[in-house]
């Protein structure tokens, strides 16, 4: 047995040794230990180096609020985690852990030079030091700060673990399984409510695990606990979750829970996720999170071996570990007296109980005397001796505000209690207000914004009896709020350890306060002196003090430091704490892995990848893909040895010379149906629809209320009362939403309905002079000859035996058809056309070729050639506006003064003087390259390609007053620094007369 393990004590399994390593050394603990308890059992207090000064630090708490004992853990390749709290990580055989922020070793750390220079590192150090000279910022200061920022090494390997998530609905969610939480769960569970009880620790019980000597209803605490948990487990409506942290409390009682599933296991099953994020929607929430013990602020209060008294009591009673053989207790609250008694009863030689209060209850002093413990009431602590471990505590009497002569108390541990802070972090997430209790000097829950009940020490109550009673009431209140009646259970508690105490600013001292290293925030190395300096330098609100000193800004969010910092700041300002304020707690309650947030969204499931019915064919034929909205689309089909440029040039040529086949399935499709369909279309789109005959199609342009282009697409009239609307790929959902919005809010009188059919249809586009020759043999039920089926028309027929909506339209300038068939047939039809198309050297092409072919014709792509500030007139498609229509969405905006003013950016063509130069999309344009800098930019390139058909480059650009600049030379930045010259032209680069559509 290890030296500090107390035989028969604790809830750990003494018969099951577990060995693990810390900084390469092998240590032995027992089953049930945390890393902290196992190291303490071996007499190791030193577990880390502090962030700024690299001071040696020991464990101070036994819970998730731990600021010092942050370690690196390794469970396997890629499974390193920094900043794991040693107090929460359970040990298992083979666990590897390491200390942080030290070099070359934990006991001898060169970085501790900072500690000698501490006078330099005062509050606001960064703001004051890294100012001048300016040129040092990039080369010296920023790299230095980046190196210094953050504790622990960020993992660099891919995380091989999986993370899960689930939704959960319950009547009552109880956060915390101490006496209040268990009593609340029992009340609600017995009443039949669906209850979830959770705790962040491996075991439920909270304070009860550390207080075995009390009795409840005639049972010893642990027997009562076992019976209570068994009762909960027998209720089918109650779920218990351990190792589960309520990390965030969001609107309408949505609580995020992170459940650690495998971090405590030596061999986790491969399919087991490491953690699971639960998104819980609870009707009622009971917060029973208890209170966090406050450190005391005095010189050297961070020396290893100085820790919270309650933590020492937990290490003793729950883990069977004595944190020291000769401890001194330093307190301002009754609770630490009981910790001292437990230590003494377990065989420790408690050197003294030092209480800063002028008076303490006589009963406590008597109990101390009975155990032979010296009591020093009305004393202060003014220093600690020892560097890697405390050797003595310097204490002085305080009489009438005067600090008397010092004495040294030799010891190997100092157990501190500066009072208790109700844990209101989750309540704070709800934006519930806090009210200041001036007597107890604590914030307590005030106005509530959610259906939440706070019970026990979380609202300032003390003692097991009070906690049980309050928890039972909270559970009952929750059930009543759900509209059910139930009674409130009562509990009989004896040997309770109720008590009171005070909280205070930094302890009075007989030495220079200006030189005291009296730490307020252990994790960020903030001292009392820093906070007072911040106030002297003008910080008046705690929010400013916090940011200036970084107090409470570490990963523990100031669980130990906030209230001490506030007390000192309010003292320095001479104001009551509420006038100085309180910083806001934000989720997550404790540091949470990125994995838990990401859940299943990694690798293949990082984001939805939508695939068309023809996607697998493209993949088999070697397509390169590009993401378009959530879709992946075939980008181009490279053949052996081809890069994108060559592949696209070949695809363009093949399509213009014979026939190309293109998967257009991603186009958005909306069925607009009903007797008022025409009226609806007239109001939504700029174009007129009344005279569009059945079987005809028209380019439709959609504006926003602001008159700017939102979307476009070809729209076919299937019946008098039915339009087949197509939208851009990325605009599909947006356009449907916009239409529904207008229909439901502006024109509920219209009898028309909208249905998305994007995924009902697979769409295959055939383009090129041989398109009809290829298609015609497959078509039944329609004549698609040039005479019978004009450009811009649509017919229902069968194609390849599949029911189809067949459009004759063209986005390439060639004779073109778009065949829509039910999605399941898309690939089969494609393969039929592919096979038959071999005689015409059919060429599959992707989105890049589609972009080039349309640009050669000057067809815009919404979102590429438009950016939300382009009107139809700016884009040169004013012809799409129905001039005689009384109204359409955006019509009035087209008459706004800024819209009709001259000099707007207009979409024009650009042809470089050197035909081989392909402009860069996004390149800025000037009209005089010799003007002084900064030059006036008059526009930018929106589309730019190599045109195989024209044997030269082409580009589209938006240019101020572009339509009036035809043939002007404009200038763009070139690679060599020499400007590129280009002439303004029409955007119709290829076949402006449209002869190529007229293939017989």
């Amino acid at each position: 047995m290890t030296k500090y393990r107390v035989k028969g004590k604790g809830r750990v399994n003494h018969a099951k040794p577990v060995s693990f390593t810390f900084d390469g050394d092998r240590f032995e603990g027992v089953e049930g230990d945390t890393v902290a308890s196992a190291l303490l059992a071996n007499g190791v207090h030193l577990m880390g180096r502090s962030f700024k000064y690299h001071r040696p630090r020991g464990v101070v708490t036994a819970g998730s609020e731990e600021p010092n004992a942050l370690i690196g853990t390794t469970r396997g390749k890629g499974q390193f985690e920094p900043n794991t709290r040693a107090t929460m990580q359970e040990i298992y055989p083979g666990l590897k852990t390491e200390s942080q922020n030290k070099w070359p070793s934990l006991a001898f750390d060169l970085g501790a030079i900072n500690d000698r220079l501490y006078m330099l590192f005062s509050a606001g150090f960064y703001y004051k030091t890294f100012m001048w000279p300016r040129s040092f910022w990039d080369s010296v200061y920023e790299p230095f700060i980046r190196k210094a920022a953050g504790l622990g090494k960020a993992p660099s390997e891919v995380d091989p673990d999986s993370y899960a998530s689930r939704y959960l609905h319950c009547d009552v969610l109880v956060v915390g399984s101490g006496p209040s939480g268990i009593a609340a769960a029992l009340s609600a569970g017995r009443a039949g409510s669906k209850v979830v009880l959770l705790d962040e620790h491996a075991e439920m019980g909270g304070t009860l695990l550390s207080e075995p000597s009390i009795t409840i209803d005639g049972k010893e605490a642990w027997d009562w606990l076992e019976a209570a948990l068994a009762e909960l487990d027998n209720l089918p409506n109650v779920t218990r979750m351990t190792r589960t942290t309520a990390m965030g409390y969001y609107h309408q009682n949505m609580i995020g829970l992170v459940q650690k599933l495998t971090d405590h296991l030596a061999d986790a099953p491969t399919a087991a996720p490491r953690e699971r994020m639960w998104r819980v929607r609870a009707q009622e929430v009971v917060l029973a999170q208890g209170a966090i013990e406050r450190p005391m602020v005095f010189h050297g209060n961070d020396t290893p071996g100085i820790m919270m008294a309650g933590a020492a009591q937990t290490f003793l009673n729950r883990f069977g570990v004595l944190v020291g053989e000769n401890p001194v207790v330093l307190t301002s609250h009754d609770s630490a007296w009981y910790s001292a008694f437990d230590m003494a009863d377990a065989g420790a030689n408690v050197v003294a109980i030092v209480d800063t209060r002028p008076e303490v209850p006589a009963a406590l002093v008597q109990q101390a005397m009975k155990r032979g413990i010296d009591t020093l009431v009305g004393h202060t602590a003014t220093g600690a001796k020892g560097r890697l471990r405390v050797k003595a505590l310097r204490v002085n009497p305080v009489r009438h505000g005067k600090v008397g002569p010092a004495q040294m108390l030799n010891c190997d541990a100092v157990l501190v209690c500066g009072g208790w802070t109700p844990s209101l972090h989750l309540f704070s997430h709800t934006k519930g207000s806090l009210h200041w209790d001036p007597e107890a000097k604590v914030y307590l829950p005030g106005h509530k914004t959610e259906n939440v009940h706070i019970a026990g020490a979380g609202r300032g109550l003390w003692g097991i009896a009070a906690a049980l009673e309050d928890g039972a009431k909270a559970g009952t209140d929750a059930v009543k709020a759900l509209g059910r009646m139930t009674g409130t259970a009562t509990y009989e508690v004896s040997n309770d350890r109720a008590g009171t105490g005070i909280t205070q600013k930094e302890l009075p001292t007989d030495r220079s306060a200006g030189k005291a290293k009296a730490f307020v925030d252990f994790q960020n190395d903030v001292t009392a002196k820093d906070i007072r300096l911040a106030v002297r330098e003008g910080m008046k609100s705690i929010e400013h003090v916090k940011r200036y000193t970084t107090n409470g800004m570490a990963t523990d969010q100031g669980k130990l430091s906030n209230m001490n910092g506030l007390t000192i700041a309010s003292d320095a300002l001479g104001k009551e704490a509420p006038q100085v304020g309180l910083t806001t707690f934000r989720p997550p309650y404790t540091p949470t892995t990125f994995g838990a947030f990401a859940g299943y969204h990694k690798g293949k499931h990082f984001e939805v990848t939508r695939r068309t019915p023809i996607d697998s064919w493209a993949e088999e034929h070697g397509a390169a893909f590009e993401p378009v909205a959530l879709w992946r689309r075939a980008w181009y089909f490279p053949q052996a040895g081809e890069d994108m440029h060559k592949a696209v040039a070949r695809e363009c040529k093949a399509t213009r010379e014979s026939v190309g086949i293109f998967d257009a399935s991603t186009l958005g499709k909306i069925e607009v149906s009903g007797p008022d369909a025409t009226e609806f279309m007239n109001r939504m789109y700029t174009n007129p629809w009344t005279k569009l005959g059945v079987g005809r199609a028209r380019y439709g342009l959609l504006l926003g209320e602001d008159g700017f282009i939102r979307d476009d697409g070809v729209i076919g009239r299937m019946r008098d009362d039915l339009f087949h609307v197509t939208t851009t790929t990325g605009g599909a959902a947006r356009v449907l939403n916009m239409m529904e919005d207008y229909l439901q809010t502006e024109w509920p009188d219209l009898k028309v309905w909208l249905t998305s059919t994007t995924e009902e249809w697979a769409t295959i586009a055939l383009n090129g002079p041989n398109a009809r020759k290829l298609l015609a043999p497959f078509v039944e039920g329609a004549d698609i000859s040039a005479e019978a089926m004009q450009h811009m028309s649509v017919v229902e027929c069968t194609v390849g035996g599949f029911p189809a909506r067949l459009f004759r339209i063209s986005f390439t300038g060639e004779l073109g058809f778009e065949i829509n068939v039910p999605a399941r047939h898309g690939k089969a039809l494609w393969e039929k056309l592919w096979a038959a198309g071999q005689q015409y050297d059919i060429c599959p092409y992707g989105t890049e070729t589609m972009h080039v072919l349309r640009a050669e014709k000057g067809f815009i792509i919404v979102g590429q050639d438009t950016d939300g500030t382009v009107t139809p007139l700016d884009a040169g498609i004013g012809w799409a506006i129905g001039k005689k229509k009384p109204d359409f969405v955006g019509k009035r905006s087209l008459e706004r003064p800024d819209i009709v003013a001259p000099g707007r950016k207009q979409l024009v063509g650009l042809l470089t003087d050197d035909p081989k130069t392909v402009l860069t999309e996004g390149a800025q344009i000037v009209d005089d390259p010799n003007q002084p800098k900064p030059m006036k930019m008059i526009g930018h390139v929106t589309s730019s390609y190599w045109s195989e058909a024209l044997g030269r480059s082409i580009a589209m650009a938006v240019v101020e007053g572009g339509f009036d600049r035809m043939d002007q030379t404009l200038y763009l930045p070139g690679e060599s620094g020499k400007p590129i010259t280009a002439k303004v032209t029409s955007t119709m680069f290829y076949d402006p007369a449209g002869d190529r559509l007229k293939v017989e």
Binding site: S162, A164, S165, R166, Y167, L168, H169, L261, P269, T270, A271, A272, P273, R276, R279, R281, Y600, K604, H605, E607, V608, T609, R610, R611, T612, P613, W631, E671, S673, G674, P675, D721, K751, V752, W753, T755, S756, T757, T758, E759, E760, W761, P822, A823, R824
Partner: protein, 176 residues
Amino acid sequence: MNAPVTSFDAVSVTLLPPVARFNLRIDPKDLSAAASAFGLTLPTKIGEGAQNGDRAAYCMGPDEWLLHAAESDQQAIVSAFDKVRATTPHSLVVISDRELTLSIKGPAAAELLSVGCPIDLSRLPIGGAKRTVFDYAQVVLIRDAEEAFRLEVWRSYMPHVQGILEIATREFAAGY
């Protein structure tokens, strides 16, 4: 097509064969005309369903119904609605190919769905249906029995939905 995708004792996930599927939009006061065209009394409360043989109807919104029928009846149903359109305006859109349907069955079915579905599944009545989401996908969730659900997912979202269900099913199989 209907081979089990993934299964173990507590839950099985199976891709179902296609059905004739329609989106019906109609003024609720004209519902009887639609009912006689479809041959089934349509439910009037959002979330409710009605079933008779292979015909089923689910009320999805104030004027919206999801209709199911045997594949072979699709054209006949379209024609029946065509006949009443002149007198009773409505929109009937074939969406048989828009969605694919998964069957999720077994004692752990509801819990498996809770992996991606935020609604309180205990409040979804047997025979009812809800439009909701599964992870990033919009879905229609139909409850056929206490432990039997169908999930209708737009075709292109199906691999994502299936993939997550598959990972989650492995969690269940491993006891997590």
